[in-house]
Amino acid sequence: MQHPYPPRNLPQPGGGPGPIHQGGNAPTPGSMSGGSPGGAGKDDSYFTESRKGEVNELRQLLRTFGSERDKQRKREIIKKVIAYMTLGIDVSRLFTEMMLAIETRDLVIKKMVYLFLCNYAETHPDLAQMCTNTLVKDSGNEDPMVRGLALRALCSLRLPQMIEYTSEPLRRSLQDGHAYVRKTGVMGILKMYHLNKEDFDKAAFNDILYDMLRDPDSSVVTNCILVLNEIMADSGGMALNRAVMLHLLNRIHEFSEFGILSVLDLVPRYIPANDEEGFQIMNLLDPVLRTANSGAVVATICAFLSIADAIGKRPGDGRDADSPSVDDLKRQVCVRIKAPLVTLIASGSNELTYVLLKYADQLIDLCPGIFDDEYRQFYVRYSEPTHIKHSKVRLLAKLANPETAPDIVAELGELVADIDETMGRLAVRSMGSIALHDSGGQGAVESIARRLVEMLDLQGIPHVSSEAATALASLVRRHPDIITVVSAPLPRALRYITEPNGRSNVIFLLGEYGESIAEAPYALERVIDSYDNITDDGVKTALLAATVKLFFHRPPEMQKMLGRLMKKATEDVSSQDLHDRALFYYRLLRSSPDPNVAKSIITSKSMSMTTDQFAEEDDSEFRASLMNEFNTLCTVYRCKAENFIEEENIVKFVKMPKDHPLAREGNVAPVADPGVNTIVDQFGGTTIGVSLAAPSPSMCAPPAPVGEVDLLGFGDDVSILSAPQPPASGTNSLQSLSLKSNASITGDEYQSMWRAVSDLEAVTISTHMRSRPTSTDAVESALGAFNVMTMASGELQTEFKFFLYGQEEAYYGGGYFLIEAVVMKASPSLNLTIKSFGGDSDSIKRKEKLDQLAELIKSALGEYLH
């Protein structure tokens, strides 16, 4: 389509026209900052002040595009449009003109036009649709580069109505001869999935993707893994079995730096078949620790820890006595990974160091003491950014042991007077924490206490003396005998500590140990007399408690000031709590017939700590859960994912395969027969009618949330790692699923419930059977023993069919489970479709239960399965 009128009066493109029009004034809507002139560069013309008039001018310019013969000039025109787009100016009005430019043989122009399309397609869906033809045509171009680019653009348009045009080129691309196109196509599948999850043909694409895991090109494989992980996120990520995992691990050296990561991220989710395999995987991955890619190193660390977790012996799991325990293994792993991690911390850039210090912190929690001998690495450098310094000071406290503590405490002492206030505070806290946890060995507590006492006297630095007071108060609670060191300077300290927190802690100590501090009453008296000047409720409360306590120890000195304080406090209406507390003390003192009763209540010293942890530090469960999400944002924020990531964006990865003995659930399932031929047929264009409810065993890769997937054709691929014999089956883990023994429902109820639950929510599982049952009765009675009831059953020519159900115990939720089981006669296999009705509203719990039920059924039918 040609424009009817010829261009007039146009600035010559390509000559760097630099149009600085002062004409129309209003900046284009959508302009972020109006676009400011860049530096004095020669190409300035692209980024000069833009006005509405210029977009029009650009349009004029674009109309000359068709008639322009010079390639460079053509490029300049398009480049100008993209420059405006980069500035944030809305050039979407040029959509029609730009689309005309798409018919070009110049790759640079093509790329720019594609970029333009992707940027504005969402706002101009109708126009974008018009260029589909060109894109589809380009995706069949003879140049693989063009094919790839066109495909990428086509999939990136983010227009749901485009799906039908896209799927054909997409399918074609997956069989393309060039890896660049295939890899782009694989990513395209993911884009389609995000565009429309409902209509996405999961089953079909999953099969293709699983098949493509064997692609000779590693970048295609990488993308397959990444895509599968996202598509199958609902069911815990890409389904893994031994064959797949070993296949990928054996090829790991072929992968690019970033490709390795996709495989490494799978390892933590894989349950090794046995101990030996776990060790083999670790050996195989060990070289990765030598790569310079920090992401890969950390991912390897994560993989190691997870394997250690899987193959280590736990108390009471009945494994070999000589196999190492989980803790031992983890320690070994930590020792191995220490050097690489420290190197990364030492040589990495600041941003990375910050993140890695957080990782180190978490590893220390997991395995205390591993970094102790590297403590000098964590000394603060003057030139480091503040956040790294802070992280290091916090970490140093955790690295203290009897050998390192003197050095560390001395180093912390240097930092106390740092100009950065937070740093000073942290240094004092770290010191206190070393003493508190007794990690400094003999005498350390006292020497630290002496240092802290010195700091109390640091008049010039109020925040340090206050922190020191706080640390000392905790320390005395833990080690009451060091009060002898602490007591003397307290009255003095109270005079010049200004921060409320520090003051209340000093007052607390004076009240608690005032009997042995001669000046205590007078120190308190000064505070009481200036009661009206106290603004902080915490100080007031501490003062009240301390005064009352001390009253019982030294009544003659205290009586009068207590009276004064009581009066002030009961009249004080600034804090309800304080007011009530004062009244409480007052009534207690007045009403008790025997003053000794009140005394015994108030002064009994029951709070000396017996553990070396404060309650808030005892978070081992929380730490363990963080460990599951190691190497993610959770580690940096020290926060569980569900607390800050939106639910739809959370991926809960599931460890697989569940049937490995180390998962403590029965034997390894046999790997499916290679189904390559079927898949090739599917490529040929036959539509894949795999319904969600009944996947046939040879097509495998059930789309619904399942842990159990038979992957195609990997049986012959296991080469480096020997195939170990799985040991005898472990025990089942079915804790939270308990079925009623007397559940009963009618056929109609059954049907209505079945229909009420959509097929999407069902769990489907298919397993091979060693032998097929002789009659339906045998199956029914086997299941009946596990409280799985039969609604109806029957024998058909090719299969047995069962409609089963069960009901949960009422206190677990009382939900119903409906099961459709089909036993194929020809190649014996069991296909289960399980739905749940009622019960838990939490979808994750529901899924867990469904999975457990599936396991229960499998174990009930164990004699046929293995």
Partner: protein
């Protein structure tokens, strides 16, 4: 890793270029938030990873999750006058995102030699191409500059009618870092062994921490697909040889000269499995410049250049420095361009210096004195005296006039002393660790003779001596 978008801004947070990969976050709003983070959060509080909740509030690390779910996490790195930032709304792998951003920076540098605001503006089309090629749908793809260069060029390759542009096989090849058919007139390879010494010395003169960060850098100009084998005097090599070979005695006698490298990291071209087996470093090099390996040695090293400072402050009148420096390496080595940087209080005036060697300059803007010695031979000792006047009322006292405003006026004054002495130097033909290249074998099918060139250099890393 899943990045929703990547964008580059200037130091004020104004966007220069951006690419929204997933469309699952509003990018313009996200960039605005990043800008407001840059401008509103104090420098000390800034962290390279931060979370903005769904209400647009920037959260402290400890507060993440307190305001409910949702929002985005920003990860950014700084390069000259730019910020490169990734945004994600998932629980992404942060180490990986940072690695990507770093590699993107070096990729841009490789393309434009300097990476700054101007070069971004000048090359926006290529940057778009690179952003598209290095990441697809928020997942990193290939970031190898030697490969990308073959189909994304400065000139822009054209779909000429005669020769079809093909994505290089190398993009998807087993040897992903090297293309086939490279030709050089002269087949040369340059090898630099560079060691940087990190040192931290306490005020009383004890070495708190010393460590060597080494790198073997290569510049390869070799044709074809050459096979290279590098032999180092790595201790582990000899141990392996001693165990395996019959003449254990011979190798152990040489063990004194070998070096144990603690943590070695290799460029991806090195066959790691081979190294694990017999400690042979064999590889097909990429063309051009790259770091073959890096290593770290955490050993007690004698500080190569020792500095002692005696400071005599006379409050309200003057301050005197006596600086003694000593080179503690063999006399046949020479340290070049030695700079000893001594911090001084901010309010000194009328400087005067006396030194036995070199130049001394006072840099008021950095509050320090720099003593430059062009050539510092091993085993020498030099002295420098500096004298400054002090105002009769120190800055803190002047400030302190308005009550107790300062968080410890005294401590502030003390802090100028807390700044450590820094030293810069370069010693050619010398490695602290004693690592040596024993051989570099180059084998290529065509059988050409290639010249390997080897250089050694030791320089300062983070070299700090605290002042008393």
């Amino acid at each position: 890793m899943v990045a929703s978008a990547i964008f580059i801004t200037d130091l004020t947070g104004k966007p220069l270029i951006s690419r929204n990969y997933r469309g699952d976050i509003p990018l313009t709003a996200a960039i605005d938030r990043f800008a407001s983070y840059l401008n509103e959060v104090e420098d000390e509080m800034k962290k390279p990873v931060f979370h903005v909740d769904s209400g647009g509030e920037v959260l402290n690390v400890d507060d993440v999750g307190c305001t409910g779910v949702g929002g985005e996490t920003f990860v950014y790195v700084q390069h000259s006058n730019l910020y490169l930032c990734g945004v994600t709304c998932k629980n992404s792998n942060i180490a990986l995102m940072l690695t990507y951003l770093y590699q993107l920076t070096s990729l841009f540098q490789d393309y434009f030699t300097t990476l700054n605001e101007e070069s971004i503006r000048d090359n926006f089309v290529i940057i778009y191409e690179l952003l598209d090629e290095t990441m697809d749908h928020g997942l990193p793809q290939s970031l190898d500059s030697t490969i990308l260069r073959q189909f994304i060029t400065q000139e822009g390759n054209r779909m000429a009618d005669d020769s079809k542009s093909k994505p290089p096989v190398a993009l998807t090849n087993a040897v992903s870092w090297r293309a086939e058919g490279i030709k050089h007139k002269k087949n040369e390879i340059f090898l630099d062994v560079v060691e940087k010494l990190n040192l931290l010395v306490s005020a009383n003169g004890t070495v708190l921490h010393s460590e060597i960060n080494g790198a073997v850098k290569m510049k390869s100009f070799l044709s074809g697909m050459p096979e290279l084998k590098l032999g180092l005097n790595d201790k582990l090599v000899f141990e392996a040889a001693g165990r395996g070979g019959s003449s254990g005695g011979a190798s152990s006698s040489r063990a004194g000269k070998s070096v144990e490298l603690e943590d070695i990291k290799f460029h991806q071209c090195v066959r790691l499995a081979r190294f694990e087996n017999d400690r042979t470093i064999s590889f097909i090099p990429p063309d051009g410049e790259f770091d073959l390996m890096t290593y770290r040695l955490d050993t007690h090293v004698k500080p190569l250049i020792w500095v002692e400072a005696v400071v005599e402050p006379h409050r309200g009148s003057r301050i005197e420095y006596m600086i003694k420096t000593r080179s503690q390496f063999k006399s046949r080595s020479v340290a070049n361009n030695v700079e000893i940087i001594i911090p001084v209080p901010p309010d000194v005036d009328s400087p005067s210096f006396k030194s036995s060697v070199g130049n001394v300059t006072y840099l008021p803007d950095k509050d320090c004195v720099v003593w430059t010695i062009k050539q510092f031979h091993g085993g020498r000792e030099y002295l420098m005296r500096a004298h400054f006047g002090l105002p009769s009322i120190s800055r803190e006292e002047a400030d302190g006039g308005n009550i107790n405003k300062g968080s410890g006026g005294g401590s502030g004054a003390d802090m100028s002393w807390k700044k450590p002495i820094g030293v810069k130097f370069e010693i050619p033909y010398f490695t602290v660790s004693g690592i040596q290249v024993r051989y570099l074998k180059i084998i290529e099918r065509s059988g050409y003779q290639a010249l390997p060139w080897v250089r050694y250099i030791t320089a300062n890393g983070d070299y700090q001596l605290r002042m008393a």
